[in-house]
């Protein structure tokens, strides 16, 4: 399995030959930022196309099929359209907060990108509190949504923002606890350590029952966290027209739209990291030749492939289930998911202490 850290070390040494240390680091930062932005927009474009195709398949339609082969260029055309659209400025709004909100939302998902394990050695920063950082970052997003709803000075957006606030605060608990369960199993918060601990078997297999429970809860809470159906109450179009982003237009709306898809990727990416071994290939103990074949697939493809497969499940939810009501949504979290989660954490701890795992 190729190690990207060799490549990055080579770039670093190359740069330090010509530049002083601080300048080299600055240049690297810029390169990373450019790569990140590129990955960000490419992924978003892909996801928009992917969701449309998947949704169309569920609905017995073809989906986009005119622009480019299989409609691949459709999302690029749409992105271009959004870029050239007018930013409508509204009277009686808090101009600064109104403009700030979409950036906060996009910032939150951008920051989370920094700690995702893209491939073997291909990680921007490997904290010892990586997972903690990830959860903290994703919480900034709710701030942006609340701001958007409040500053638009519109009753629908306000209700949407309040719903979103209640929903995200509640479901963050579930996300946190199910991740905590896996962190306890891995024994580390560092993302690199978590991935490496899954070299001989992904957590979903080695952690068996508690890991599966944690995964199911994580998937439900993750769907809620990204405001996607059946938990899309903050933007429930049949109730609140478009929820918190009703008043946004042009690229500001585009940011919300983009962030929604990127959050989908992040949630699936974290699920891949915590339960399906991050970039680790699929290995079966004892099947050496099989394992070697698996090793030939690049680690980046492993990670992104897993994330997309999990996203497919979340998209599948959206196009199958009707939407929940706000009280049902909250009782699902507080009455069911949270107690199950706490019990599951205890179960996991027992498994670890008594060594009931593989």
């Amino acid at each position: 399995m190729q190690d990207f850290s060799e490549l990055t070390a080579f770039i670093h040494s190359l740069l330090t030959q010509f530049l002083p240390e601080w300048a080299a680091v600055t240049v690297e930062c810029v390169i990373i930022a450019v790569c990140l932005l590129l990955a960000y927009s490419l992924l978003a474009l892909f996801y928009i196309w992917f969701e449309r195709k998947v949704c169309a398949a569920f609905q017995c339609r073809l989906g986009p099929n005119r622009v480019g082969p299989w409609g691949l260029l459709q999302s690029i055309a749409d992105m271009f359209k959004i870029l050239i659209k007018e930013l409508i400025s509204l009277k009686h709004t808090d101009k600064f907060l109104f403009a700030l909100a979409p950036y906060l939302v996009i910032l939150a998902s951008m920051l989370s990108f920094a700690v995702l394990p893209w491939g073997n050695g291909l990680q921007i920063i490997d904290f010892n509190i990586g997972i903690f950082f990830l959860i903290a970052c994703s919480s900034i997003g709710v701030l942006g949504i609340l701001l958007a709803g409040w500053s638009s000075n519109n009753k629908f957006t306000l209700i949407g923002a309040l719903r979103s606030g209640a929903q995200m605060v509640s479901y963050e608990l579930s996300i946190g606890l199910s991740i905590l369960t896996m962190v306890a199993f891995a024994g580390s918060m560092s993302i690199g350590d978590i991935v490496n601990a899954q070299a001989n078997g992904w957590f979903i297999f080695t952690g068996h029952i508690p890991a599966v429970i944690a995964f199911v809860i994580y998937l439900i809470a993750g769907t809620a966290e990204t405001n996607r159906g059946p938990f899309d109450l903050p933007e429930a179009e049949s109730e609140l027209t478009a929820g918190y982003h009703t008043e946004y237009s042009g690229i500001h709306f585009g940011f919300f739209y983009l962030a929604e898809y990127l959050n989908l990727f992040i949630v699936s990416g974290v699920a891949a990291l915590m339960f399906f071994g991050g970039w680790m290939p699929f290995h079966i103990n004892g099947w050496d030749s099989f394992n070697q074949v698996m090793d030939y697939i690049p680690s980046v493809i492993w990670f992104i492939g897993k994330a997309i497969a999990l996203s497919f499940v979340i998209i599948w939810f959206k196009w199958t289930f009707p939407r929940l009501r706000i009280d049902q949504l909250l009782s699902l979290e507080w009455k069911y998911l949270l107690p199950i989660n706490l019990a599951n954490l205890v179960l996991m701890v027992c498994c670890i202490v008594y060594g009931w795992h593989f």
Binding site: Q59, C60, K155, I159, A236, E239, T320, P322, I326, Q328
Partner: protein, 543 residues
Amino acid sequence: MANIQEKIAKLFPEAAFEEADTLTVTIPDAQWHELAKTLRDDAEMAFDYLVTIVGMDWKDSLGCIYYLDSTTHNTHIAVKVIATGDRETPYIHSVSDLYAIGCIYEREVYDFFGIIFIGNPDMRRLFLSIDWKGFPLRKDYDMNPDINPVPHENERQSDYTYTYVEDADGKIVKEEKRVFAEDDFVVNIGPQHPATHGVLRFRTAVDGETIKKIDVYMGYIHRGVEKICEMDTYPQTLHFMDRLDYFSAHPYHHCLCMCIEKAAGIEVPRRAQVIRVIMDELSRIASHCLFIGTFCMDLGATTMLFYTLRVREQILDIMDKTCGARMTFNYETIGGVIADLDPDFVKDVKALLEILPKNIKEYNKLFTGNVITRNRMEGVGVLSRKDAISWAITGPSGRASGWACDVRKTAPYAVYDEVEFDEIVRTEGDSMARFKVRMDEMEQSARIIAQLIDKIPDGEIQAKVPKVLRLPQGRWYQTVEGCRGAFGIYIESDGGTSPYRLKIAPPCLPLAAVVDHLTEGSKIADLITIGGSLDYIVPDMDR
């Protein structure tokens, strides 16, 4: 009917009787409220269902004709009340305390005729803007566009409503009160809103997510169909029926045709009768398909829409081949149908009947059993049988509350008495029951079509109708089972070529009126569920 007449004559000596299409009682306004109370509460009469209020302008006087039905005895009666007071301020006593739907029906009469109902808690205009000058259905109404120009500014809105009450000396006093409390957080759901199914506005007072009160604001698609009909000849009036319930136009067309045929004494050929019934039932399947699709979409299950539209498309294609249109068919005509069936018709319908059960099974699998669906719909917006009758909620929504109100069974028309089908009645009265009733009705409609499709008799499709059709003097009322409830047409003729008064009694007006009653104390999301499950359609209520 004779003993009812005797009984009323004994209690109310002033009452005059007239045996027309239905037994008509004429009563002075002073005794009207008392009579209404007797009619409703007397066990022998039990006229508990207010079908419609027809406002009338007889040139020398204004008044109303109330059509009442008894749900226990299946009898009908009409009560004619002439307004007191002068033409400027005519008064009639309100029956909104006896019949819940009375409130909105009286508002409609007030809007068109200016008759003030004493005791009605909400005496505002219903369809027209509050600054409208004149009362359009009065015979002396001035249609000059300068009087009511098209506004170029926002319509004036008012937070106040009025009540007229009689004080101790019998003087009528106008009282003003707020629609909402002063510090209510009022959200406008509509007129442009994805879930109002047309241009309808719910002014919703909410407390957080909980609904406190809803004020239904309609009239955005009001086109004055009744007024236009007064200026048209009878064959011309038919075209407007397609534009009321545009999702299922056949039954409405059928109703007006039947009413005119009844009045003119035209015998419709049997072939046309059978074709009409098949078309009605195809419409019903198409309409219920659309209901299921849009209702599920309101609940967030977008995928269902595409599944149900597939079947609807197939039906619309069948219609297209025979009627030449997909929505505004204009197919039934006075004395029969306008064109013969397409040669492929029988084959196409049989193909539809074959795939339909499979599709219904698929809908149930995808949606009905889902736990989220059940949580969203079960126990939401429960309407009791008594309330359903009082609010005049007919059709599938009424039957979901346990009220067997299917006109095809209570007063069979065309060939409905010759076919076998079950009237679907459920007792839960919640949104789920309303949904399931429609699901099951599709199967029953298919059953009716299956019985008729092989037995379409040969022969004429149209009776001989005079070129210039004049109806004799008199009045007629005809009801059919539309896809959303009982649809009624009232025609009063003065012997001319166009109706003196043509009143349309749509099923959707009560459906929209009852939303406030059903949503009190529930969540915003429930408003969408309840509104969707009632399946009202705005052009029908606005007319």
